[in-house]
Amino acid sequence: MTQLFEGIGIALGSLRGNKARAALTILGIAIGVMVVMIIASMISGINRSVQHTFESIAPRTFLVWRWFQAGVNISDGSEETSPWRRNPAISGEEADRIALLPSVRYVTRRDESSARVEFGDLALESVNISGLSSQWVEVNGGDVYPGRTFTRLEDLANSRVVVINKKLEAQLFRGRDPIGHTIKIAGVPFEVIGVYTPAPSLFSGASPPFAGIPHGAFEKYVPFWKGWMKLAIAPVEDVPQQQAIDEVTALLRSMRSLKPAQENTFSIITQDKLLDTWQQVTGVFFLVMIALSSIGLMVGGVGVVAIMMISVTERTREIGVRKALGATKREILWQFLVEAATLTLVGGAIGMLVGGTVAWVLSKATPIPAYVPIWSIVVALAASVLTGIGFGLYPANRAARLDPVEALRYE
């Protein structure tokens, strides 16, 4: 224990003695740890808010999409790389038939596009427009206040009513009460009936201007890319989610005349599946991050070998003296290992401070909800110490093996 403290003291002393050299050595370690901290804090932060988002949606709701695939998909336009072409679009008839199933409480449709929105002299281009069924707020989470969302009747009647989000409200109305005013979407007048606030979630602070209108009105008035309607389905209260999924699957398969051996030509997505997918994607990020930081630590480690070799050579005489005064091989080895580990630990700590600061600034200045998990601090410090010990082993061993007579004679 005494020697541990002595070793740390010696290491800090030689750090002070050779500031420039030590700084260069620990730079690699510091950068490696800094990258880990920043990416880890971003992924953890995003993870947390994604989880939060999923939790805010009614947990038993599931989605029916034409195509869903985990991860990134690259298509060059050929049949093989565009598997969604084999799946027909979800049709309105299918949605209506699903709504009649005994286990299904309601079905909401969703189509998306963007269009020009005008109010008085103001005009905004490329505002996100969604065509939605009346229960969309229950599915998406969030709240409409002031005002209300459209009713089932307005949905069925293709009424020209619109719910806008805070951002669009701010940009069009600039502090005035929007309720009851008429705005034009793709040139068609709609009455504003409510302001939507989404559930607090990922990027919610930066959500772009958005307008939600009844799905029928959307199909009628807004130009959009047909064939990508998405359904969200809520099962009846006491029915298990799986039962509803089975019924929906059976219905769609029979409507599409699929034989038992054929695969589904649609995707059913539960929140568990979304979470899994998300975790797969972040898992890949973590792997990349670990690879990147290992490279940083390796480079730093090579620097540690270099500086420790120089240090051992410069202090050959000191090693001789210590041996003459009774230090064993193990004690010399230990001293230099502690020194290498202290060097990398300081590098790791600096990298952590810088990385943590960057993460904090990110979370304050941008919508990325960066958050530094405790485990990443522990892992970063442990990794830097291990790097020091691993790469310090060779120079430390050389020091320990020095012959005391020759070491004392060294000039």
Binding site: T2, Q3, E6, V321, K323, G326, K329, P404, L408
Partner: protein
């Protein structure tokens, strides 16, 4: 030489004999050519003797001093230190012996430049495994013994040559060793300071300390009670003289 024990291989030294070498030999392999630096040195040093080892360069005195200091192992013969046969011990055991039995004083002082005088003197106690409090107390006491009680927090570059050598002597004494082994202790000092250091050695000898000193200067060797001269790896002369 009349006081010497008639020693044969297999014998144990008398308890009063602190250093006993019997036909001690050390050969070096210099790229295929064997150099015999020591060719059978038999030497006995009793407790509280003050011995100077002299000889021209190449006579083997450095080799002998490395062997006596347990920094090196012989290739032949026996070496007994304080009743223990150390000539066939391993590295770790030799490190322990150096720590407990031997106090080194070097020509170039060999203090750690970044450490304070106190910390330099503490070093042997660290390797002896003493706790911090005890270490500090003993190191302070050793520094006071050599008259440097007011220089404990100074670094070597803030001390004069003579003061540095006193710190080195304090470091050598702090573990209460069986022998004080000095290698050209005044080689880097002017004659006035050399005199001071020799007085310290003399005082330690009078207090009962066994002192072995390697030197090539006759006036330094004159302070010792006994002078052993080496030539070509063998003892040439061994004389007692009035102090």
């Amino acid at each position: 030489m009349s006081l010497a024990q008639q020693f044969r291989t297999g014998d144990t030294p008398l308890p009063d004999i602190i250093i006993l070498t019997h036909k001690l030999a050390r050969a070096y392999d210099m790229g295929g050519e064997v150099v015999r630096a020591l060719r059978g040195v038999s030497l006995q040093i009793r407790r509280n003797e003050y011995v100077a080892i002299m000889g021209p360069s190449g006579s083997g005195k450095s080799t002998l001093m490395n062997l006596i200091g347990c920094l090196d192992t012989p290739t032949g013969g026996e070496y007994w230190l304080n009743g223990q046969k150390v000539s066939d011990l391993g590295d770790d055991a030799l490190a322990r012996i150096r720590n407990k039995e031997i106090g080194f004083v070097f020509q170039t002082f060999n203090l750690l430049p970044r450490a304070t005088a106190l910390h330099n003197v503490e070093l042997p106690l660290i390797y002896a495994g003493l706790g911090a409090k005890e270490r500090r107390a003993q190191a302070a006491q050793a520094l006071e013994r050599v008259g440097l009680g007011d220089r404990m927090e100074h670094r070597p570059n803030e001390l004069s040559g003579g003061q540095r050598q006193r710190v080195a002597i304090a470091r050598a004494l702090v573990n209460d060793p069986s022998i004080l082994l000095a290698d050209e202790p005044t080689g880097n000092l002017d004659s006035a300071t050399s005199g001071e250091i020799m007085e310290v050695f003399g005082a330690l000898h009078r207090q009962g300390q066994t002192v072995v000193m390697v030197t090539h200067e006759h006036d330094i060797a004159a302070h010792a009670a006994r002078v052993v001269t080496l030539r070509d790896g063998l003892v040439a002369t061994d004389q007692r003289q009035a102090a």
